[in-house]
């Protein structure tokens, strides 16, 4: 019989008065055994992170506090222990890794010094022993050249290396419980796969119980033993991974699973003859600047995009996939001329728009529009929704009444209430804001839509709705779409053709179905292999 490590009984966490609901989480029951991975899944606002924080005693008191219930760890109720006792437990018995390793690590301390702190506060060891132990930990988490990394500052490491260092720190004293709060969300897929593997390796070795918070069912399928699904602060379903993923009972779980894009690529529509956008030999590099008087070394030159060719035909969706830093967003911004490319041609029909001046470019702006990634940053908080949507046509010389009429129509098209016209963006949720962003892009009746990660900031269920909306609009208006994404599942669902980018170059391109089934380039293969939950068929 495995050892019970943690049991949470009837836990409720109160939100401050005036919040949109009384409880952040309500009547939560949860158990964690040694050597087991329990995944808590839910969309943003479901209370999954607060549950994890409650275990660590890290609730943002006094605003958010435990209302009732107990958290039993080793016969001790963590809701009642003193602060000192909690501090003893943290790091040594229960430890935590966070979503964003850059902010979870102290930027002015070396990795070695931060690992050292864990030992200094919890056990007595000589300085030499501590350094040896730190190095061996870094070896354990497969960091290359640990002797060097121990003296490195967080900014000198890559995202994956930082998360490995965090894990080394969290596991330094062999805790019984590891709480991982979305530890791979900020990482690229290939790195994510490595980190997940590392966590399960370490877990086997130390027999740790892992409480894993995530929104990604793919990750769940890969690592979980048991799953807990949360919605609006309540547990709606629990069970073994197999039960929940294969035979979900609760309608919410069903809808969540149904919303996950299938990795099965769609069939490419037959190619239209007309090429609407053609990019040839696009190059863009950053840096290389000098100071005002020309002193100093020119800074390092980064080649973000190198000799990229792209061809987009009428009515098709071309996906550009790649990990962060692959240059896919830079490419999109070059094409829409938010930044000027260093070399190459971008032909909109017959016209090369790279050579046009800003005023010459203005009429062409109508034909190519963009949907942005972050729905919270892409709308001006001080301007009303109606004006956001209608200002484009007005700038292009349309009559004001005509433009407002069009804005109302667009609100209908993107599925928003007409009353939204007079509201400010902050009154809307992320998904609704993204709809506003789409309406703005459509306001000029473009031929081409450039979508830069339009769903990556959204929850899965919202994501599915937005993808559907984009597809509908594309069909209705005969749009061509350039779709930038890091998520191969999303690409599989919406793209007819896919171009895979790495280090600023396109390494492979082809019809989505063909490319997913039969990847030729080694990088494409590794990307496909790293997609979480790829063996899970539902």
């Amino acid at each position: 019989m495995t050892k019970r490590l943690l049991s949470i009984n009837d836990l409720s966490i109160l939100l401050p008065t005036g919040a949109d609901r009384e409880y952040a989480v309500q009547d939560i029951n949860l158990e964690l055994n040694a050597g087991e991975t329990v995944c808590v899944v839910g969309e943003s606002g479901s209370g999954k992170s607060l549950t994890a924080r409650a275990v660590m005693g890290l609730l943002p008191a006094p605003h958010v506090r435990i209302g009732k219930g107990e958290i039993i760890f080793d016969d001790e109720d963590l809701t009642k222990v003193t602060y000192e006792r909690l501090r003893e437990l943290r790091g040594s018995e229960i430890s935590m890794i966070f979503q964003e390793p850059m902010t979870a690590l102290n930027p002015v301390m070396t990795i070695g010094a931060q690992i050292d702190e864990v030992f200094r506060y919890h056990v007595s060891m000589s300085a030499k022993e501590r350094v040896e132990k730190a190095v061996s930990l870094l070896v354990d988490v497969n960091l290359p050249d640990p002797a060097k990394i121990i003296n490195a500052y967080p900014h000198e490491l890559s995202g994956g290396q930082r998360q490995r260092s965090m894990i080394a720190m969290a596991l330094a004293l062999g805790p019984k419980i590891l709480i991982a709060d979305e530890p791979t969300t900020a990482l690229d897929v290939t790195t994510q796969a490595q980190i997940l593997e590392l966590i399960s390796d370490m877990q086997k070795r130390l027999d740790t119980g892992v409480l894993f918070i995530t929104h990604d069912f793919g990750v769940v399928a890969d690592i979980a033993d048991r799953v807990i699904v949360m919605q609006h602060g309540k547990i709606v379903e629990t069970g073994t991974t197999k039960q929940v993923l294969q035979k979900p009972k609760h309608p919410y779980t069903k809808s969540l699973i149904a919303a996950i894009p299938r990795l099965k690529p769609r069939k490419a529509r037959s190619r239209a003859a007309k090429v609407v956008l053609e990019a040839e030999d696009i190059c863009k590099s950053f840096g290389g600047g000098r100071s005002f008087f020309g002193f100093g070394k020119p800074s390092r030159d980064v080649k973000a995009v190198q000799n990229v060719q792209i061809e987009l035909r009428r009515g098709e969706t071309l996906g550009v996939v790649g990990e962060s830093g692959s240059g896919k967003s830079t490419l999109a911004r070059c094409i829409i001329r938010l930044i000027d490319s260093d070399a190459g041609q971008i032909k909109l029909g017959d016209v090369d728009i790279t050579k046009l001046s800003r005023s010459e470019l203005r009429p062409f702006r109508k034909r190519i529009q963009m949907v942005f990634q972050d729905p919270f940053a892409s709308l001006n908080p001080r301007i009303k929704v109606g004006d956001i949507i209608s200002q484009g046509p007005i700038l292009q010389g349309e009559d004001k009444d005509e433009a407002s009429k069009r804005a109302y129509e667009l609100l209908d098209i993107v599925g928003l209430d007409r009353r939204s016209f007079d509201r400010f963006p902050h009154e809307f949720s992320g998904g609704q804001r993204q709809r506003i962003g789409i309406a703005r892009a459509l306001s000029l009746r473009p031929d081409i839509l450039v979508a830069d990660e339009p769903v990556s900031a959204l929850d899965v269920s919202i994501q599915a709705q937005i993808l559907e909306l984009l597809d509908e609009i594309r069909a209705q208006m005969d749009l061509s779409m350039l779709f930038i994404t890091h998520d191969l599942r999303v690409a599989a669902q919406v793209c007819d053709y896919v171009a895979v980018m790495q280090y600023g170059k396109i390494v492979e391109t082809g019809p989505t179905a063909e490319l997913f089934e039969n990847p030729k380039d080694a990088y494409t293969k590794s990307l496909l292999a790293a997609v979480p939950g790829k063996d899970w068929h539902f």
Binding site: F292, S378, I383
Partner: protein
């Protein structure tokens, strides 16, 4: 707006500051009713102590009423404080916005100019300017504005740098919006809160500089001001304390009240900072 006032109200000191400033403004407006006489007129026995010979706050060495001087001086101080601040905020926004928005060479040139102004000690620079321009209300306003805009320019530049890369600004570019329109209609409204806060505190500094100039005899000779009163009384500080003290207290209270208001505006406009406590 209602929300803004609720948050502002939470800071009681700020409400007090607003109340004090309102009183001083009322005092300045009604100056000619309270003391219809010209404050420069010799109206009674010189060096009368407060509450004697019909002087509420005493009289100075020439027999001018100190209370009348304070009431009339309030108008000067507030007027110069507000106008000078407006002018310098305007210059600051202009420099900061262009530097932050366009970056590159324009940024370099504008910021080097700003730095030249920042490296000159501001009060000495103000004295120099007033001495060159001949003391008058407008030259004092110009001098104060010229020495205090660089701070605003730096602030606005930073805000513009932060906002100009936000996606909504990029969206405006893709719609074909002109640079000037983006700067004025899209970015500037998002930078207003810190500008308002800094501006409110600048009013206090401007009043101090004006008083300093008047104290040194560089005020407008035709206009009564607090600094002038202090300057006139400083030689008799030990024998006639009231001549310096009351205008000094007036400056203290005004500057303090404005600072409290600035603090309150900061809490109300940047609510997140407050909640962190």
């Amino acid at each position: 707006m209602g929300n803004f006032w609720t948050r502002y109200k939470r800071n009681h000191a700020a409400v007090f500051g607003l109340f004090v400033i309102a009183l001083i403004i009322v005092m300045a407006i009604t100056a000619s009713f309270l003391y219809p006489e010209d404050p420069f007129r010799l109206v009674g026995k010189p060096l009368s102590e407060p509450l004697t010979n019909g002087f509420l706050l005493g009289s100075d060495s020439l027999g001018r009423d100190v209370a009348s001087g304070i009431v009339h001086g309030a108008k000067t101080s507030l007027l110069i404080g507000f106008v000078a601040t407006l002018v310098s905020v305007f210059i600051g926004i202009f420099f900061g916005a262009f530097a932050g928005y366009f970056g590159g060479l324009i940024d370099d040139i504008l910021m080097r100019v700003t730095e030249i102004f920042q490296t000159i000690p501001s009060f000495i620079f103000a004295i120099l300017l007033v001495a060159i321009l001949k003391p008058s209300m407008s030259s004092i306003v110009i001098a104060i504005a010229v020495v205090s805009w660089p701070g605003v320019a730096r602030l606005v530049r930073g805000e513009f740098l932060a906002v100009k890369n936000r996606e909504f600004v990029q969206a405006c570019h893709t719609l074909g919006m002109s640079d000037l329109r983006i700067m004025l209609w899209e970015i500037l409204p998002n930078c207003l809160s810190p500008i308002i806060v800094v501006g409110s505190l600048m009013v206090a500094t401007a009043i101090l500089i004006e008083s300093g100039l008047a104290f040194l005899g560089l005020g407008d000779p035709n206009v009564m001001s607090w600094g002038f009163l202090i300057g006139a009384g400083r030689t008799m500080l030990r024998s006639a304390w009231w001549v310096c003290t009351f205008p000094g207290v007036a400056i203290l209270i005004t500057v303090l009240a404005i600072n409290l208001i600035g603090e309150g505006l900061n809490d109300a406009l940047n609510p997140r900072l407050k909640e962190r406590q």
